[in-house]
Amino acid sequence: MKLDNVGMIATETSRSFIYLQSLLANELIPSRVLLLSDETGEVTPDQPPNSIAVSEFLIANKIDHDVLRTRAINHKSVIDYLCNLNVPEIYIYSGYPGAILGKEILSLGKKFLHIHGGYLPKYKGSTTFYYSILQENCVGYSAIFLSEKIDAGQILLRKEFPIPTNLSGFDHTEDPKMRANMLIEVLLGYVETNKWNEAVIPNIETPYYYIIHPVLKNIAIASSSVRGISP
Protein backbone atom coordinates (compact mmCIF):
# COMPACT_ATOMS: atom_id res chain seq x y z
CA MET A 1 0.00 0.00 0.00
CA LYS A 2 1.04 3.54 -0.63
CA LEU A 3 1.56 5.63 2.51
CA ASP A 4 -0.37 8.75 1.49
CA ASN A 5 1.04 11.13 4.03
CA VAL A 6 4.48 9.60 4.43
CA GLY A 7 7.38 10.35 2.13
CA MET A 8 11.06 9.61 2.47
CA ILE A 9 14.31 11.52 2.24
CA ALA A 10 16.86 9.05 0.94
CA THR A 11 20.57 9.19 0.15
CA GLU A 12 23.04 6.94 -1.63
CA THR A 13 23.75 4.97 1.54
CA SER A 14 23.37 1.40 2.75
CA ARG A 15 20.78 2.62 5.22
CA SER A 16 18.50 4.14 2.58
CA PHE A 17 18.86 1.07 0.42
CA ILE A 18 17.89 -1.32 3.21
CA TYR A 19 15.05 0.95 4.37
CA LEU A 20 13.59 0.91 0.87
CA GLN A 21 14.02 -2.85 0.55
CA SER A 22 12.22 -3.39 3.88
CA LEU A 23 9.45 -0.94 3.05
CA LEU A 24 8.86 -2.70 -0.24
CA ALA A 25 8.93 -6.14 1.39
CA ASN A 26 6.24 -4.95 3.82
CA GLU A 27 4.23 -3.25 1.10
CA LEU A 28 4.67 0.13 2.72
CA ILE A 29 5.47 2.45 -0.18
CA PRO A 30 6.35 6.08 0.58
CA SER A 31 4.15 8.40 -1.46
CA ARG A 32 7.23 10.29 -2.65
CA VAL A 33 10.96 9.80 -2.23
CA LEU A 34 13.41 12.66 -2.38
CA LEU A 35 16.87 11.34 -3.19
CA LEU A 36 19.86 13.51 -2.30
CA SER A 37 22.80 12.54 -4.41
CA ASP A 38 25.86 14.41 -5.58
CA GLU A 39 26.80 14.41 -9.21
CA THR A 40 29.90 12.26 -9.08
CA GLY A 41 28.04 8.97 -9.03
CA GLU A 42 31.03 7.47 -7.22
CA VAL A 43 30.62 4.97 -4.39
CA THR A 44 31.11 6.92 -1.16
CA PRO A 45 32.34 5.54 2.18
CA ASP A 46 28.66 5.49 3.21
CA GLN A 47 28.05 2.66 0.80
CA PRO A 48 29.48 -0.84 0.77
CA PRO A 49 31.59 -1.55 -2.32
CA ASN A 50 29.68 -2.99 -5.30
CA SER A 51 26.40 -1.83 -3.86
CA ILE A 52 23.39 -1.13 -6.04
CA ALA A 53 22.65 2.57 -6.30
CA VAL A 54 19.51 3.72 -4.51
CA SER A 55 18.54 5.64 -7.66
CA GLU A 56 18.58 2.41 -9.67
CA PHE A 57 16.52 0.66 -7.01
CA LEU A 58 13.88 3.41 -7.10
CA ILE A 59 13.63 3.21 -10.89
CA ALA A 60 13.57 -0.58 -10.98
CA ASN A 61 10.73 -0.69 -8.45
CA LYS A 62 8.80 2.20 -9.99
CA ILE A 63 8.78 4.24 -6.79
CA ASP A 64 7.85 7.90 -7.34
CA HIS A 65 10.91 9.98 -6.66
CA ASP A 66 12.83 13.15 -7.39
CA VAL A 67 16.58 13.62 -7.28
CA LEU A 68 18.34 16.73 -5.99
CA ARG A 69 22.03 17.07 -6.79
CA THR A 70 23.23 17.80 -3.29
CA ARG A 71 24.28 15.82 -0.25
CA ALA A 72 23.30 18.64 2.12
CA ILE A 73 19.94 18.25 3.83
CA ASN A 74 19.86 21.97 4.66
CA HIS A 75 20.59 23.05 1.08
CA LYS A 76 18.23 25.69 -0.37
CA SER A 77 17.10 23.30 -3.11
CA VAL A 78 15.90 20.83 -0.45
CA ILE A 79 14.08 23.53 1.52
CA ASP A 80 12.41 24.84 -1.67
CA TYR A 81 11.42 21.34 -2.71
CA LEU A 82 9.77 20.55 0.62
CA CYS A 83 8.13 24.00 0.76
CA ASN A 84 6.41 23.40 -2.55
CA LEU A 85 4.78 20.16 -1.48
CA ASN A 86 1.76 20.18 0.83
CA VAL A 87 1.89 16.44 1.20
CA PRO A 88 3.46 14.35 2.49
CA GLU A 89 3.74 15.94 5.90
CA ILE A 90 5.83 13.15 7.39
CA TYR A 91 9.18 12.10 5.94
CA ILE A 92 11.17 9.01 6.84
CA TYR A 93 14.62 10.50 7.27
CA SER A 94 17.71 8.68 6.02
CA GLY A 95 20.33 11.35 5.45
CA TYR A 96 24.09 11.19 5.13
CA PRO A 97 25.97 10.48 8.38
CA GLY A 98 26.78 13.47 10.51
CA ALA A 99 24.16 15.76 8.96
CA ILE A 100 22.02 17.76 11.37
CA LEU A 101 18.70 19.27 10.32
CA GLY A 102 18.79 23.05 10.69
CA LYS A 103 16.18 25.46 12.02
CA GLU A 104 14.83 26.35 8.58
CA ILE A 105 14.00 22.83 7.45
CA LEU A 106 12.54 21.98 10.85
CA SER A 107 10.20 24.95 10.69
CA LEU A 108 8.55 23.96 7.39
CA GLY A 109 5.68 22.22 9.17
CA LYS A 110 6.94 18.75 8.20
CA LYS A 111 7.91 15.98 10.57
CA PHE A 112 11.01 13.88 10.06
CA LEU A 113 10.91 10.30 11.34
CA HIS A 114 14.38 9.11 12.29
CA ILE A 115 15.60 5.84 13.75
CA HIS A 116 18.40 6.69 16.17
CA GLY A 117 21.03 4.07 17.00
CA GLY A 118 20.77 4.49 20.75
CA TYR A 119 18.30 4.04 23.60
CA LEU A 120 16.89 7.52 24.25
CA PRO A 121 17.08 9.70 26.22
CA LYS A 122 20.04 7.90 27.78
CA TYR A 123 22.18 7.73 24.64
CA LYS A 124 22.05 10.98 22.69
CA GLY A 125 24.57 11.76 19.99
CA SER A 126 26.74 9.91 17.54
CA THR A 127 27.77 6.21 17.42
CA THR A 128 25.96 5.60 20.70
CA PHE A 129 25.45 2.01 19.61
CA TYR A 130 29.12 1.25 20.31
CA TYR A 131 29.16 3.18 23.56
CA SER A 132 26.25 1.16 24.91
CA ILE A 133 28.01 -2.10 24.01
CA LEU A 134 31.06 -1.05 26.02
CA GLN A 135 29.09 0.38 28.94
CA GLU A 136 26.03 -1.82 29.22
CA ASN A 137 26.57 -4.92 27.13
CA CYS A 138 23.51 -4.24 25.02
CA VAL A 139 22.38 -2.05 22.14
CA GLY A 140 19.36 0.17 21.72
CA TYR A 141 17.36 1.95 19.03
CA SER A 142 14.77 4.70 19.21
CA ALA A 143 12.25 6.00 16.69
CA ILE A 144 11.85 9.77 17.03
CA PHE A 145 10.56 12.84 15.27
CA LEU A 146 13.59 15.09 14.81
CA SER A 147 13.67 18.38 16.68
CA GLU A 148 16.04 21.32 16.90
CA LYS A 149 17.68 19.88 19.99
CA ILE A 150 19.69 16.86 18.91
CA ASP A 151 18.07 13.49 19.70
CA ALA A 152 15.56 15.17 21.99
CA GLY A 153 12.46 14.95 19.78
CA GLN A 154 9.27 13.05 20.53
CA ILE A 155 10.03 9.35 21.07
CA LEU A 156 7.67 6.96 19.25
CA LEU A 157 9.30 3.66 20.14
CA ARG A 158 12.50 2.48 21.81
CA LYS A 159 13.97 -0.93 22.38
CA GLU A 160 17.05 -2.61 23.76
CA PHE A 161 18.62 -5.73 22.27
CA PRO A 162 21.45 -8.11 23.14
CA ILE A 163 24.69 -7.53 21.22
CA PRO A 164 24.75 -9.33 17.87
CA THR A 165 27.54 -11.89 17.48
CA ASN A 166 29.36 -10.40 14.56
CA LEU A 167 29.82 -6.68 14.29
CA SER A 168 32.35 -6.56 11.46
CA GLY A 169 30.61 -4.86 8.57
CA PHE A 170 27.87 -3.94 11.01
CA ASP A 171 27.56 -0.34 9.82
CA HIS A 172 26.52 -1.42 6.34
CA THR A 173 24.41 -4.48 7.09
CA GLU A 174 23.11 -5.27 10.56
CA ASP A 175 22.72 -1.70 11.75
CA PRO A 176 20.52 -0.59 8.82
CA LYS A 177 18.53 -3.82 9.15
CA MET A 178 17.87 -3.26 12.85
CA ARG A 179 16.84 0.32 12.15
CA ALA A 180 14.62 -0.84 9.28
CA ASN A 181 12.87 -3.35 11.54
CA MET A 182 12.07 -0.60 13.99
CA LEU A 183 10.91 1.70 11.21
CA ILE A 184 8.54 -0.96 9.89
CA GLU A 185 7.12 -1.55 13.39
CA VAL A 186 6.42 2.16 13.79
CA LEU A 187 4.84 2.46 10.33
CA LEU A 188 2.68 -0.64 10.79
CA GLY A 189 1.42 0.86 14.06
CA TYR A 190 0.60 4.07 12.21
CA VAL A 191 -1.22 2.26 9.41
CA GLU A 192 -3.24 0.25 11.93
CA THR A 193 -4.32 3.14 14.15
CA ASN A 194 -3.91 6.10 11.77
CA LYS A 195 -1.97 7.94 14.45
CA TRP A 196 1.59 8.06 15.73
CA ASN A 197 1.99 6.29 19.03
CA GLU A 198 3.95 8.86 20.95
CA ALA A 199 5.57 7.28 23.98
CA VAL A 200 5.42 9.24 27.22
CA ILE A 201 9.08 9.39 28.12
CA PRO A 202 10.49 12.41 29.93
CA ASN A 203 13.38 14.01 28.12
CA ILE A 204 16.04 14.06 30.80
CA GLU A 205 19.34 15.91 30.46
CA THR A 206 22.04 13.39 29.66
CA PRO A 207 25.59 13.74 28.36
CA TYR A 208 26.02 13.97 24.62
CA TYR A 209 28.10 11.31 22.89
CA TYR A 210 30.49 12.34 20.12
CA ILE A 211 31.70 10.07 17.35
CA ILE A 212 33.47 7.21 19.05
CA HIS A 213 37.19 6.84 18.63
CA PRO A 214 37.98 3.95 16.25
CA VAL A 215 40.00 2.10 18.92
CA LEU A 216 36.95 1.91 21.17
CA LYS A 217 34.69 1.04 18.25
CA ASN A 218 36.99 -1.84 17.37
CA ILE A 219 37.08 -3.04 20.98
CA ALA A 220 33.27 -3.09 20.87
CA ILE A 221 33.45 -5.08 17.63
CA ALA A 222 35.92 -7.52 19.18
CA SER A 223 33.69 -7.90 22.22
CA SER A 224 30.74 -8.96 20.10
CA SER A 225 32.40 -12.27 19.29
CA VAL A 226 32.99 -12.85 23.01
CA ARG A 227 29.71 -11.57 24.45
CA GLY A 228 27.37 -11.43 21.46
CA ILE A 229 24.18 -13.36 20.88
CA SER A 230 23.56 -15.19 17.61
CA PRO A 231 20.51 -13.80 15.82
Binding site: P45, Q135, F170, Y210, H213, P214, V215, I219
Partner: protein
Protein backbone atom coordinates in the same frame (compact mmCIF):
# COMPACT_ATOMS: atom_id res chain seq x y z
CA UNK B 1 44.42 3.60 7.28
CA UNK B 2 44.29 5.40 10.58
CA UNK B 3 47.67 5.23 12.38
CA UNK B 4 49.49 4.46 9.17
CA UNK B 5 49.86 7.68 7.26
CA UNK B 6 49.74 10.29 9.96
CA UNK B 7 52.65 12.54 10.54
CA UNK B 8 51.52 15.96 9.42
CA UNK B 9 48.79 17.25 11.67
CA UNK B 10 45.78 16.04 13.57
CA UNK B 11 43.21 17.04 11.00
CA UNK B 12 43.74 14.06 8.78
CA UNK B 13 43.09 11.63 11.59
CA UNK B 14 39.99 13.36 12.87
CA UNK B 15 38.48 13.48 9.37
CA UNK B 16 38.93 9.73 9.01
CA UNK B 17 37.30 8.72 12.31
CA UNK B 18 33.90 8.34 10.72
CA UNK B 19 35.12 5.81 8.18
CA UNK B 20 37.80 3.99 10.16
CA UNK B 21 37.93 0.28 9.34
CA UNK B 22 36.05 -2.26 11.44
CA UNK B 23 38.71 -4.87 12.12
CA UNK B 24 38.19 -5.68 15.79
CA UNK B 25 41.30 -6.78 17.68
CA UNK B 26 43.81 -6.21 14.82
CA UNK B 27 42.92 -2.53 14.87
CA UNK B 28 43.63 -2.35 18.60
CA UNK B 29 47.04 -3.94 17.95
CA UNK B 30 47.80 -1.31 15.30
CA UNK B 31 46.91 1.39 17.82
CA UNK B 32 49.07 -0.18 20.56
CA UNK B 33 52.07 -0.55 18.24
CA UNK B 34 51.64 3.02 17.06
CA UNK B 35 51.57 4.39 20.60
CA UNK B 36 54.54 2.21 21.66
CA UNK B 37 56.51 3.57 18.70
CA UNK B 38 55.80 7.15 19.75
CA UNK B 39 56.67 6.39 23.38
CA UNK B 40 60.02 4.89 22.32
CA UNK B 41 60.73 7.94 20.19
CA UNK B 42 59.92 10.24 23.08
CA UNK B 43 62.08 8.34 25.54
CA UNK B 44 64.92 8.23 23.04
CA UNK B 45 64.96 11.92 22.23
CA UNK B 46 67.65 14.06 23.81
CA UNK B 47 65.58 17.20 23.96
CA UNK B 48 64.09 16.93 27.43
CA UNK B 49 62.88 20.29 28.74
CA UNK B 50 62.16 21.29 32.26
CA UNK B 51 58.43 20.76 32.65
CA UNK B 52 56.35 23.78 33.55
CA UNK B 53 53.52 21.43 34.39
CA UNK B 54 55.26 19.15 36.83
CA UNK B 55 52.69 19.83 39.52
CA UNK B 56 49.71 19.08 37.26
CA UNK B 57 51.42 15.94 36.05
CA UNK B 58 52.16 14.66 39.54
CA UNK B 59 48.64 15.48 40.66
CA UNK B 60 47.33 13.35 37.83
CA UNK B 61 49.64 10.48 38.78
CA UNK B 62 48.60 10.76 42.42
CA UNK B 63 44.93 10.81 41.45
CA UNK B 64 45.36 7.68 39.36
CA UNK B 65 47.34 5.94 42.06
CA UNK B 66 44.87 3.13 42.64
CA UNK B 67 44.85 2.31 38.94
CA UNK B 68 48.63 2.50 38.63
CA UNK B 69 49.54 0.59 41.75
CA UNK B 70 47.92 -2.73 40.86
CA UNK B 71 50.31 -5.53 39.89
CA UNK B 72 48.72 -5.97 36.46
CA UNK B 73 49.13 -2.25 35.73
CA UNK B 74 52.75 -2.31 36.81
CA UNK B 75 53.40 -5.27 34.52
CA UNK B 76 51.64 -3.55 31.65
CA UNK B 77 53.73 -0.39 32.09
CA UNK B 78 56.94 -2.39 32.45
CA UNK B 79 56.27 -3.95 29.06
CA UNK B 80 55.99 -0.52 27.52
CA UNK B 81 58.95 0.97 29.35
CA UNK B 82 61.20 -2.05 28.99
CA UNK B 83 64.11 0.13 27.93
CA UNK B 84 63.54 2.61 30.73
CA UNK B 85 61.95 1.00 33.75
CA UNK B 86 63.93 3.34 35.97
CA UNK B 87 61.47 5.96 34.90
CA UNK B 88 58.65 4.27 36.80
CA UNK B 89 60.85 3.90 39.86
CA UNK B 90 61.83 7.58 39.71
CA UNK B 91 58.23 8.59 39.34
CA UNK B 92 57.24 6.63 42.43
CA UNK B 93 59.70 8.64 44.47
CA UNK B 94 58.31 11.95 43.33
CA UNK B 95 55.27 13.04 45.23
CA UNK B 96 53.47 16.21 46.12
CA UNK B 97 53.11 17.50 49.59
CA UNK B 98 49.65 17.56 51.12
CA UNK B 99 49.32 21.29 50.71
CA UNK B 100 49.79 21.09 46.96
CA UNK B 101 47.34 18.23 46.69
CA UNK B 102 44.56 19.99 48.53
CA UNK B 103 45.11 23.26 46.67
CA UNK B 104 41.88 24.14 44.88
CA UNK B 105 40.88 26.99 42.67
CA UNK B 106 37.77 29.06 42.90
CA UNK B 107 38.35 30.67 39.52
CA UNK B 108 35.72 28.65 37.69
CA UNK B 109 32.82 28.59 40.08
CA UNK B 110 32.64 32.32 40.52
CA UNK B 111 34.19 33.53 37.29
CA UNK B 112 32.82 35.41 34.29
CA UNK B 113 35.00 36.67 31.47
CA UNK B 114 37.86 35.67 29.24
CA UNK B 115 40.16 32.92 30.43
CA UNK B 116 43.31 31.45 28.96
CA UNK B 117 42.57 27.80 28.22
CA UNK B 118 45.74 26.64 29.96
CA UNK B 119 44.65 28.40 33.17
CA UNK B 120 41.15 27.01 32.86
CA UNK B 121 42.44 23.45 32.52
CA UNK B 122 44.86 23.95 35.38
CA UNK B 123 41.92 24.99 37.57
CA UNK B 124 39.93 21.98 36.42
CA UNK B 125 42.78 19.64 37.36
CA UNK B 126 42.92 21.31 40.77
CA UNK B 127 39.17 20.94 41.23
CA UNK B 128 39.22 17.31 40.13
CA UNK B 129 42.02 16.39 42.51
CA UNK B 130 40.29 18.29 45.31
CA UNK B 131 37.00 16.49 44.73
CA UNK B 132 34.96 19.52 43.70
CA UNK B 133 33.24 17.19 41.29
CA UNK B 134 30.15 19.01 40.14
CA UNK B 135 31.75 22.31 39.12
CA UNK B 136 34.58 20.41 37.56
CA UNK B 137 32.62 17.96 35.44
CA UNK B 138 30.23 20.56 34.01
CA UNK B 139 33.03 22.74 32.66
CA UNK B 140 35.12 19.76 31.54
CA UNK B 141 32.12 18.59 29.53
CA UNK B 142 31.76 22.02 27.94
CA UNK B 143 35.43 22.00 26.93
CA UNK B 144 35.04 18.52 25.46
CA UNK B 145 32.13 19.81 23.42
CA UNK B 146 34.23 22.72 22.17
CA UNK B 147 36.97 20.36 21.05
CA UNK B 148 34.66 17.75 19.48
CA UNK B 149 32.66 20.30 17.52
CA UNK B 150 35.47 22.59 16.37
CA UNK B 151 38.17 19.86 16.23
CA UNK B 152 40.51 22.15 18.13
CA UNK B 153 41.07 23.95 21.41
CA UNK B 154 41.18 27.74 21.27
CA UNK B 155 43.87 29.55 23.21
CA UNK B 156 41.24 31.24 25.33
CA UNK B 157 37.47 31.10 25.95
CA UNK B 158 34.81 33.34 27.39
CA UNK B 159 33.02 31.97 30.40
CA UNK B 160 29.63 33.20 31.46
CA UNK B 161 28.25 32.37 34.85
CA UNK B 162 24.57 32.92 35.46
CA UNK B 163 23.73 31.97 39.06
CA UNK B 164 25.87 28.86 38.93
CA UNK B 165 24.89 27.95 35.36
CA UNK B 166 28.28 28.03 33.66
CA UNK B 167 28.63 28.35 29.89
CA UNK B 168 31.83 28.21 27.90
CA UNK B 169 31.32 30.54 24.96
CA UNK B 170 33.17 30.87 21.70
CA UNK B 171 36.88 31.32 22.11
CA UNK B 172 39.52 32.97 19.98
CA UNK B 173 40.29 31.73 16.47
CA UNK B 174 43.83 30.87 17.50
CA UNK B 175 44.68 27.29 18.29
CA UNK B 176 45.88 26.58 21.82
CA UNK B 177 49.51 25.64 22.28
CA UNK B 178 50.61 21.99 22.31
CA UNK B 179 51.27 22.39 26.02
CA UNK B 180 47.58 23.16 26.57
CA UNK B 181 46.55 20.09 24.57
CA UNK B 182 48.84 18.04 26.76
CA UNK B 183 47.31 19.49 29.93
CA UNK B 184 43.87 18.74 28.57
CA UNK B 185 44.95 15.15 28.05
CA UNK B 186 45.99 14.99 31.73
CA UNK B 187 42.57 16.25 32.77
CA UNK B 188 40.84 13.70 30.56
CA UNK B 189 43.07 10.89 31.84
CA UNK B 190 41.67 11.41 35.33
CA UNK B 191 38.12 11.29 33.99
CA UNK B 192 38.56 8.28 31.73
CA UNK B 193 38.92 5.59 34.35
CA UNK B 194 36.09 3.13 34.94
CA UNK B 195 32.95 2.19 33.02
CA UNK B 196 31.55 5.74 33.12
CA UNK B 197 34.70 7.14 31.56
CA UNK B 198 34.40 5.65 28.07
CA UNK B 199 32.85 8.79 26.60
CA UNK B 200 35.78 10.85 27.89
CA UNK B 201 38.34 8.22 26.94
CA UNK B 202 37.13 8.61 23.35
CA UNK B 203 38.00 12.33 23.40
CA UNK B 204 41.30 11.63 25.18
CA UNK B 205 42.32 9.27 22.37
CA UNK B 206 41.58 12.00 19.84
CA UNK B 207 43.59 14.59 21.77
CA UNK B 208 46.53 12.22 22.05
CA UNK B 209 46.23 11.30 18.36
CA UNK B 210 46.67 14.99 17.64
CA UNK B 211 49.75 15.19 19.87
CA UNK B 212 51.21 12.01 18.38
CA UNK B 213 50.70 13.20 14.83
CA UNK B 214 52.99 16.17 15.33
CA UNK B 215 56.73 15.58 14.92
CA UNK B 216 58.37 14.70 18.22
CA UNK B 217 60.93 17.48 17.82
CA UNK B 218 58.13 20.05 17.77
CA UNK B 219 56.03 18.62 20.61
CA UNK B 220 58.98 18.26 22.92
CA UNK B 221 59.76 21.96 22.67
CA UNK B 222 56.63 22.57 24.71
CA UNK B 223 55.98 19.34 26.58
CA UNK B 224 58.30 17.14 28.60
CA UNK B 225 59.04 14.08 26.45
CA UNK B 226 59.15 11.72 29.42
CA UNK B 227 55.92 12.99 30.93
CA UNK B 228 54.14 12.80 27.58
CA UNK B 229 55.46 9.27 27.13
CA UNK B 230 54.12 8.31 30.53
CA UNK B 231 50.70 9.82 29.94
CA UNK B 232 50.43 7.97 26.61
CA UNK B 233 51.30 4.78 28.46
CA UNK B 234 48.54 5.45 31.01
CA UNK B 235 46.09 6.02 28.17
CA UNK B 236 47.09 2.62 26.73
CA UNK B 237 46.66 1.15 30.21
CA UNK B 238 43.12 2.53 30.48
CA UNK B 239 42.29 1.14 27.03
CA UNK B 240 43.68 -2.20 28.19
CA UNK B 241 41.50 -1.91 31.29
CA UNK B 242 38.39 -1.46 29.11
CA UNK B 243 39.35 -4.58 27.16
CA UNK B 244 39.88 -6.59 30.32
CA UNK B 245 36.56 -5.44 31.74
CA UNK B 246 34.65 -6.73 28.74
CA UNK B 247 36.79 -9.87 28.30
CA UNK B 248 38.52 -8.89 25.08
CA UNK B 249 42.08 -10.14 24.88
CA UNK B 250 44.89 -8.65 22.82
CA UNK B 251 45.61 -10.29 19.51
CA UNK B 252 48.14 -13.11 19.78
CA UNK B 253 51.01 -12.64 17.35
Amino acid sequence: MLYKDINLDGTLIIESYMYAPSLGRPFVSIYTDFRKGIIEKLLGCDCEIESKDNRQFLKTINYLNSLLSSESSKNFLKQIFKSDDNFIECLNKESLNEESLSEASGTITGFTGQIYTGDLIQSLINLKTSNFESAHSQVTDLLIRKFEVSKKLSDYYFISNDQGEITVLKGSDNNASLRVYWMFSLLLLMNSVGAGGIRILSTLLKINDSLCSIPTVRVTKEVSARQLAFSLAIEALIVNDVMTRISVTHETR
